[in-house]
């Protein structure tokens, strides 16, 4: 790696100060994207700001109304945390399928979001869990809905000097379920050809909330708002699910690459959406 300076602030203010006026500085959480990119010469940084000494970024805590997940908490802690497993089982599941065991010891869900890869497994699920990103920067603290966080491949909505502090996940209502499904040609440790996150709440036989988001079929993780409009107010049924899956398939804007041709990806969007919706609605 090319030489760089390193600081490890212990408070949010110190981190804001370290990043201020240094637009080329990079934030280091688990490093499984950043350090691999820097070693491969795909990214350079004169200054690396390690945020893992800031308590807020490493805490998982239940709050009034939801869960606050520190941006740098490694996946292995998320996957094994009792509160996460009880209240957000789909999040525990997704944390256990990003990378292999040793990667999960470092890689964070916050980093998965900030890296802004179209294929990021955690992001569709965060979108359907209605997660909100809390960001710190020179202008203070602000919040960004997760569906607005990724703006282009590898580009996020963070402004100059800003960094992700944590994610807030609203407490699931009674009857709420979420699920993430992906297609990979092997059993583990692979990049999603297509990923589908879904969530829904069923109250007294009627769908009251529904969200669907896709991975690997657009320049960014894709929130398919039409699915919400199509499902809310209906009773769960095979027809309703098929209609929503068709909307997901139509919304996808896949490309052909070494992992799959575009038509195959589009087909998978329909199949996986139907399966994932069936899992949460029946």
């Amino acid at each position: 790696m090319k030489p760089f300076d390193y600081v490890a602030p212990t408070t949010l203010d110190e981190a804001v100060h370290a990043l201020a006026g240094n637009p080329a500085a990079r934030v280091l959480a688990g490093g499984t994207d950043l350090l691999a990119q820097m070693k491969g010469g795909r990214r350079e940084a004169p200054l690396v700001v390690d945020v893992k000494r800031i308590p807020d970024l490493l805490s998982i805590r239940m709050e009034e109304g939801g869960l606050r997940l520190g941006a740098a908490v490694p996946c292995i802690r998320i996957a094994t945390n009792a509160d996460v497993r009880a209240q957000y089982p789909a999040l525990a599941e997704v944390a256990s399928l990003i990378g292999g065991t040793a990667i999960q010891g470092r890689a964070s869900i916050g980093g998965n979001l900030c890296n802004a890869a179209p294929s990021a497994d955690a992001v569709p699920l965060l979108i359907v869990l209605s997660a909100v990103a809390r960001v710190a920067g020179p202008g203070g603290i602000r919040e960004i809905a997760v569906e607005d966080f990724c703006v282009a491949p590898g580009k996020n909505a963070l402004g100059e000097g800003e960094f992700l502090v944590d994610l807030f996940l609203p407490k699931p209502a009674a009857g709420f379920k979420a699920h993430y499904l992906r297609f990979i040609p092997r059993n583990e440790m692979d990049i999603a050809v297509v990923g589908v996150g879904v969530s829904a709440t069923v109250t007294d036989g009627q769908i009251t909330t529904a969200r669907l988001a896709l991975a690997s079929v657009a320049p960014t993780p894709l929130f398919v708002r039409e699915v919400t409009e199509a499902l809310v107010g209906k009773a769960p049924s095979a027809e309703a699910i098929a209609g929503a899956a068709a909307l997901a398939e139509a919304a996808a804007k896949p490309i052909s690459d070494m992992r799959a041709p575009a038509e195959y990806r589009r087909h998978l969007c329909g199949v996986l959406s139907r399966r994932a919706l069936t899992a949460v609605l029946q």
Partner: protein
């Protein structure tokens, strides 16, 4: 680039060293501290041959900066045996011929120990999934899985005795 002072616990002993921020923990272990048991394979987190324990969590040391280890506890393959007595995993790898060239072996043993420390009786599927982050180009993996199963059994029996 100016070097940074780092102090950490390494295999139960305090150590101090100087590291450039761009040096990985793997480079610091091998080149500065001369513990060459930890191997470099791919250098980008895919092969698992550089696995170490960092504060009790399994990590690939090629994707950790040496300066990040300040105040932390690190265990490498050199810290697995009890003095001259091999750990049951080390003995089982020899008994089951679970290695040929041996480059991947330290990573496999550190990773397998991380599993057995928290799950004393994992299924074969669990072992294979846990070790999917470690690549071996010689053995075809089967002997490695058998060695881990044998070591797990021995550790369980030792505990009962």
């Amino acid at each position: 680039m100016k070097k940074t002072y780092v102090s950490m616990q390494l295999n139960g002993e305090p150590v101090e060293f100087l590291a450039e921020p761009s040096q990985t923990l793997l480079e610091c272990l091998r080149d500065t501290l001369h513990l060459t048991g930890t191997k470099e394979g791919c250098g980008d987190g895919n092969c698992g041959s550089c696995c170490v324990m960092l504060d009790g969590t399994l990590v690939t040391s090629c994707l950790v900066l040496g300066v990040e280890a300040e105040g932390r506890t690190v265990t490498t393959i050199e810290g697995i045996a009890a003095g001259q007595k091999l750990h049951p995993l080390q003995k089982a790898f020899i008994d089951h011929a679970a290695l040929q060239c041996g480059i991947c072996t330290p990573g496999f043993i550190v990773a397998a120990k991380a599993l057995l420390d928290q799950e004393p009786d994992p299924s074969e599927e669990r072992i294979r999934l846990w070790l999917a982050n470690n690549l071996c180009r010689c053995t075809g993996y089967d002997k490695i899985v058998r060695a881990v199963q044998a070591a797990a059994k021995e550790i369980r029996e030792e505990k009962q005795a």
